[in-house]
Symmetry: C2
Subunit: 168 residues, 2 copies
DNA sequence: TTATATTATGTTATATTGTTGCAAAATCAA
DNA sequence: TTGATTTTGCAACAATATAACATAATATAA
């Protein structure tokens, strides 16, 4: 029997998790949020979100574009970027500045600034939301008189599996 | 009388600081580090470092290229990127992923992972090196079994001056 | 329901950032 | 000085992202 969905909320998704559940959960959350805020989750946007969620790795916009063209015919760069902007605006997708790539948000709807762990070996991504990190940053920044807007916290290194050699 | 050099090591550089001292200090540190490590601080690399240090704001590679062409004739993109790579390799310059831009390191030579405060209003940049932040990140990451390599911590918001209206 | 306004998408072109590959020049070491 | 190594010049190109404008789809109001 498979494990329950959205295990990535705290750390890395186990390799045996049922990823379909992750996708379903992400799409349902997206629908709920759009309904709530009077936004339209069009077929295209839904498609892009689904592609972003095809695994727990960041995806580049042009990789997304390739896949989109395979699935649903014609599309060009602005198509993807517009969908990503829309999804980011609703907090459904994050942009990873250090990779120029995108990933599904594991806590859609909740206002938050995630911290991201990026495996340099297998590209696995974990989104953390550790108040201690956010607090340390806020404290340090505000000690200098700086008022914090948006935080980019992206840590590269080795995920547990790659570290221990389960995947090398 | 002007204030002493390198005031930016902790927070934002005061607007009345003697910036020539910052540049001098950066160049001297660069020379020392290159000598120590048997690397060559060529005229070109020195020039690029000086341009990066022309103020306490991040600079894009192509802006740097423009200035370089004005100062020293012919140059192309790879010229700038190679010099930046060299300087980054020695820890003299940081790349800011969230801006695709570069800035002089205020603590050259010391191994460290800086945290950056970026003013969205005046583009002022402060480099922090707060062990509490680094520690919180390391703790949070290692709790998931992740082994930390490089950290990208870039916070955008309002610097003290812009916040208080000294600069609007 | 139709007319109108708004929003979303298609399309083409272009801007911005960064890299590759190879040749020429400068520097270093013997 | 010779030969090896490193640095720079140069040309082309790759990857990421945006602008501008036309068309299509959807929502809203009469």
């Amino acid at each position: 029997m498979k494990k329950p969905a959205a295990p990535a909320a705290l750390g890395f998704a186990p390799s045996d998790h049922d990823h379909d559940d992750c996708v379903r959960a992400a799409l349902q959350a997206a629908e709920a949020i759009c309904r709530e805020r009077g936004q339209r989750l069009t077929a295209l946007r839904r498609q892009v979100l689904e592609l972003v969620w095809s695994n727990h790795r960041p995806v580049g916009a042009y990789a997304l574009l390739d896949r989109l063209q395979q699935v649903s015919g014609r599309a060009a760069a602005p198509t993807v970027y517009r969908a990503l902007d829309f999804l980011q605006g609703l907090g459904l997708v994050h942009r990873l500045a250090s990779l120029n790539a995108y990933a599904g948000c594991v806590r859609p709807g909740e206002a938050h600034t995630g911290q991201f762990l990026i495996c340099t070996s297998c590209q696995a991504l974990a989104e953390l939301n550790d108040p201690a990190v956010a607090g340390a940053i806020a404290g340090s920044a505000e000690a200098t008189g700086f008022s914090v807007g948006h935080s980019t916290v992206e840590i590269s290194g080795l995920c547990p599996d790659c570290r221990s050699g389960v995947r090398s």
